[in-house]
């Protein structure tokens, strides 16, 4: 009977704690996916990180260069964007790639795309150049 009570308490806490606090506290999952009401809009926001190596044109940065999936990288980019730390992100990626002797860039650029059925608005939100030693 004691074991049953413990299990009931653990599971009640497991579900109720994130529900009350309105946050995920892993391993206490909150099931608030798609719960936020969105304003009727047809605009999609996309964040992109681009890089340019010597004498080449700008290209999209591929997150697998630093071991991340597109999905992971999307959240990482969002976090750094909304905390105004995109330049730190560029520098961290740059030095992480240098560390493993991978080819890296001479210029980094972050863009915010606002996509609607009629048009795409592009805004450059940050730029960063590595300092040459």
């Amino acid at each position: 009977m004691m074991l049953k009570k413990i299990i009931i308490l653990v599971f009640v806490a497991w579900f109720l704690m994130p529900f009350v606090l309105i946050t995920d506290l892993y391993p206490f999952f909150r099931y608030g996916m798609f719960a936020e009401p969105l304003k009727p809009t047809q605009t999609t926001e996309v964040l992109q990180l681009l890089w340019q190596d010597d004498n080449s044109k700008m290209q999209l940065f591929k997150p697998d260069n630093i071991g991340l999936t597109d999905n992971h990288f999307g959240y990482l980019l969002r976090h750094y964007f909304y905390t105004n730390q995109i330049k730190q992100l560029c520098s961290q990626i740059h030095y992480a790639m240098l560390k493993k002797n991978a080819k890296t860039a001479v210029y980094w650029q972050a863009r915010q795309l606002k996509i609607s059925p009629q048009r795409i608005d592009t805004l450059i939100v940050a730029e960063w150049k590595p300092v040459k030693p």
């Binding site: 299990i7 009350v20 999952f29 099931y31 009401p37 630093i66 991340l68 992480a96």
Partner: protein
């Protein structure tokens, strides 16, 4: 009589504590949110919020302060609501004969046929974790961005080295196999599996993205050691199977409740789904977003599905309705919003609802 008095006091104490917290919130703490927002809060408060709401410092650049005050209000409302429901249940148990409320004596559960349960568990465990070693190796490259989730922060666990990941993954797979082939030690294998599963899954979520993909299987892994222990002792595990079935339903129920708690009845209007479809910009989703009627029908069906999925625990007929609906729900979420996958780990766990009861 003495025991009842103790229980009454143990019920009153948290009640008073929580109502006092709610009062303190209204009197003073509500204004702290504004201070926190403008960066003038005390270090202690900033640290606490950093622990519980690490995303606050990201989101405050996106939303006005009213958004966060509204959230804090909602936390207090939920706290008081949960407390009131808890107290009501507590007082009922206290005032009536406790045995009457005990679900084990009320449900009259029969023994379940659990012979294939360990094989089912091992199969899913290996299917879900076979690529974790590769994932952890890849994430090792990105360890500069490691932001440990709550559990790993408490345990002060750094990101594992390549060797440690290999060792842990090997142990994880051995323990998964041990659940089926471990003989009398299978409950211990299940315990080891649960611990490793929790920690290794946590590492993969420590890059700013909490993922619910394996949430249902996590609950199953948590209960599996107890179920196997009882089976090995030749004791009845049916209460724990029902408990597991409820745990597998609650994520859907809470997803439905959250939608109503956060958005009110916005999900009964077509524009909420339409906005999400535009946000995820999948071809089928964009096509569907053109129709108000289809979006309204789908939104209502989805909300109904989430809120009433729990009926599968109680009613046999509900399994024929809600389990296929669940598979359709996950496939359509993938098709319309690109979230999840064709074969989703949540519906792969539905077999738990199909355990045959012995006559």
């Amino acid at each position: 009589m003495e025991a009842r008095k103790t229980l009454n006091i143990s019920l009153y104490a948290p009640a008073v504590a929580v109502f006092a917290t709610a009062l303190a919130y209204l009197m003073a703490a509500r204004s702290w949110i504004t201070l926190l927002y403008v960066g003038k809060a005390s270090d202690t408060l900033t640290t606490c919020v950093g622990w519980i709401y690490p995303r606050f410092f990201t989101e405050k650049h996106r939303f006005p302060v009213d958004f966060f005050i509204q959230k804090a209000d909602q936390v207090m409302i939920r706290l008081v609501l949960v407390l009131c429901i808890g107290l009501y249940i507590g007082f009922r148990i206290n005032n009536k004969n406790a045995e009457k409320i005990d679900i084990t004596s009320k449900e009259k559960l029969q023994n379940y046929d659990l012979t294939w349960l360990p094989i089912y568990f091992t199969t899913l465990a290996l299917l879900f974790t076979w690529d974790w070693y590769l994932d952890l190796q890849a994430l090792y490259e990105a360890r500069a961005f490691y932001a440990p989730v709550f559990l790993l922060r408490i345990l002060h666990l750094p990101f594992p080295s390549r060797e440690a990941s290999f060792f842990c993954c090997m142990l994880l797979w051995i323990s998964a196999l041990g659940v089926t082939f471990g003989g009398r030690a299978r409950a211990y294998f299940a315990t080891l599996f649960f611990v490793l599963f929790l920690v290794l899954q946590g590492y993969q979520m420590s890059f700013y993205k909490i993922d619910h993909t394996f949430a249902l299987f996590t609950y199953w892994a948590a209960l599996m050691p107890v179920i196997l222990y009882l089976l090995d002792k030749k004791q009845d595990a049916s209460w724990y199977i029902v408990c597991l079935q409820i745990a597998l339903c609650l994520p859907y129920t809470f997803a439905g409740i959250e939608k109503i708690a956060i958005a009110g009845f916005a999900w009964l209007q077509p524009y909420t789904l339409q906005a999400y479809l535009h946000m995820h910009a999948q071809p089928w989703g964009l096509w569907l977003a053109k129709s108000d009627v289809l979006c309204t029908i789908l939104s209502i069906l989805m909300l109904g599905f989430e809120l009433f999925f729990i009926l599968v625990v109680r009613y046999h007929w509900a399994k024929f309705v809600f389990l296929p609906a669940g598979i359709l729900f996950h496939i359509s979420t993938y098709l319309l919003m690109g979230a999840g996958a064709w074969i989703h780990p949540w519906w792969l766990c539905y077999g738990i609802f199909l355990l045959n009861q012995r006559k």
